[in-house]
Subunit: 455 residues, 2 copies
Amino acid sequence: MQKVKPALLRGFDQEYLPQDQLQFNRLIDIIRRNFELYGFLPIETPSAERREVLTSKGGVEKEIYALTRLAEADDDEAATKGALRFDLTVPLARYVAMRERELAFPFRRYQIQRVWRGETPQANKGRFREFYQCDIDIIGREKLSYLAEAEIPSVIYSVFREMAIGEFRIRINNRKVLRGILQEFGVPDDKAAAVLRTLDKAEKEDAGKLRGDLEREGVAAAGKLLDLITTRRTTDETLNTLSFLKGEIGKAGLEELRNIVVAIRQFGVPDTAFAVDLGVVRGLDYYTGTIYETTLTAHPDIGSICSGGRYDDLASYFTETQLPGVGISIGLTRLFFQLREAGVVSAAGSSVDVLVALLDDASLDQALAISPRLRGAGLNVETQLEPRKLARQLQYADRAGIRFVVMRGEDEASRGVLSIKDLHRGEQQEVPEAGLIEALRAMHGQPSQAVAEQA
Amino acid sequence: MQKVKPALLRGFDQEYLPQDQLQFNRLIDIIRRNFELYGFLPIETPSAERREVLTSKGGVEKEIYALTRLAEADDDEAATKGALRFDLTVPLARYVAMRERELAFPFRRYQIQRVWRGETPQANKGRFREFYQCDIDIIGREKLSYLAEAEIPSVIYSVFREMAIGEFRIRINNRKVLRGILQEFGVPDDKAAAVLRTLDKAEKEDAGKLRGDLEREGVAAAGKLLDLITTRRTTDETLNTLSFLKGEIGKAGLEELRNIVVAIRQFGVPDTAFAVDLGVVRGLDYYTGTIYETTLTAHPDIGSICSGGRYDDLASYFTETQLPGVGISIGLTRLFFQLREAGVVSAAGSSVDVLVALLDDASLDQALAISPRLRGAGLNVETQLEPRKLARQLQYADRAGIRFVVMRGEDEASRGVLSIKDLHRGEQQEVPEAGLIEALRAMHGQPSQAVAEQA
């Protein structure tokens, strides 16, 4: 038979072996559990939306995947009017506008789903065309307390602390403060967006080039502006530095920022894990208050692993109701890729705790009686279904990353015992039948590596 | 501003309010937990595959959604060569063929993801264009024990028992037995597929019409065949009935079926939950051994909620290696839709256990100190961020389905106590600060409804 080459599409290629998928799923579980701990509610939205919904806020059309049919078909809206979402924010806006009357506000939602973007894939940067986003947003109706902006870092803190991926810092800034700074530096309003985009590159590009760009954009004291933005200070030093802001918007922003810093501390985030950082700019016009980026201290090259901000109106394209909100997003596919590259996470052990060996057909009944007992105790169990030489069954378990193998041969059966092999420690012990669960629990509690003498 | 109507695409419209999403997620969790209990490992595959991968096994082209770009773009494989998967079996075949050397066989995988099919949506039948499938398969290399076919019903039994959706029956049959039956009835091999498709409708269509169809397809004793297929018997009666099979394939099938019935019982599935049923036919040629359908006793109209079977070669289009397997699939979006229609599942309570009220700005610090304590005890907590009248906060909690509201006003603070309101029981009690967690746990253990006199 003519074979088809089993291959993946470029950019649609983040597919894992089970042991990596398990590790990925553990990160998802941590994210989900923490989002729920902080009172966020789950939603999922369809993968495809109406095209005019996706382009309403100015989605980049050439990066949007539209749907069609492989062969012509009648009357399919999706194939003529549908396209895949490129983020979770536009679907959220559509969702809230559609269901305004059924939702309780402030609406705290989390959403963990895939999105699709036709950008150029860059595997070395963890940039793919299909990837997971994990978003939380708090949406108010007509108004939303600044405390929502202060609560977000406590959720992020809780997530990344549990992930145990090393020291991280949630860096915050305020769009009004940035606008105030630009005013003090004499940047006219119509140049502000361009200047902000230039400043957004301050961490990556050469200072001389940046200075030239800023001067061309009409910033008189470009060097001084760059200094202000890039100098590292403590949060309180930064707040003091900003007292030079005299314009209305700058003063309002500084006041907001001060209050939010007080509240972030009240929410229990230590100063080691967050900082006001004027270098956080965020390109999007969308944001109007606090903006967030999160970096790993040991891996600044990875860039921001969790970003977002406060916005004034989520769904202005869909409804007259003003819906101010604040949210952040974790790009988990990219993060996972980069954490693996950096050696911060590695493949998990198997989710299977125990393999019950099958030594011969005659002992099937006995093998099958063991598995339900173990499952009843909450252990994940694979029953070997092919009687094979014990050595091959142990090899299979080892290869699959299963730690324990439980065996009951004729000899063991005649004496009312079972054997448990711990493949991580290379040890084996016999236990009375009635003591199986207890023995496994005790062995499970032991470290995976036996001390050198025993190995 | 010109508004865009917030609406969904037809068939891409199974989107839930949070309380329904929570219920849906609980079903997913049950499925996943049971799949893992039985030693299945997770994988996910990209949403889009190469078109030739999807059409290799004869996917229906006009039902496949291909990808394109909303506006033209350079060099994007996905937009010229990609399409969305229509099931999880073809991606599994491609996955196993690609990673044959890295996987341990028998490979037991589970996969819970969305698929897309351009069929005509029929909401009343729970048929949508985007829906979840939850699949398990056991794939052998070169060979696979019949015990794998016997183990599958024990997994299904475990899943649906935990879902508590009423009495169900896993109905099994065997393709070789069906072929043997057709031989006994003189159906030539080239008519077998057509006759099976007709028999597959036996539960839905008029007996007279079916009989006519079968006669046209060359079945001489059509009435007798229909009788054989549709008569209800116990498993052992059916096995006895089949002793009339004399041909090689029929006898081999009967032997398989007998062995598998013995093993299903060994795997712990009671006769109340499974039955050999000759009316299970399954349209696909693909299956070669045991085939499964599962029906809810109280809701036969819902049809099969979980189907699958044994096949001889998973990935013949991609690799020379023979990969026999057995698998089943739960179409969860449809099942959830129909269970809700039938009133078998209803919206869940909120995932938020406790709302911590904020009575005034001055008590913010106190309110914020309560939440982490509760989260530390594993409770999901929303902190109210807007000081509002207590009545409005209680109304918000009630509307959001949150059962407990914890309050500490000035008066309570001065006396070192907290108040807990149980909205489900309409009761309120004061507890000393140190006893908060304990009191909540005790109240949580009480039934949701207070007795009538107290309500």
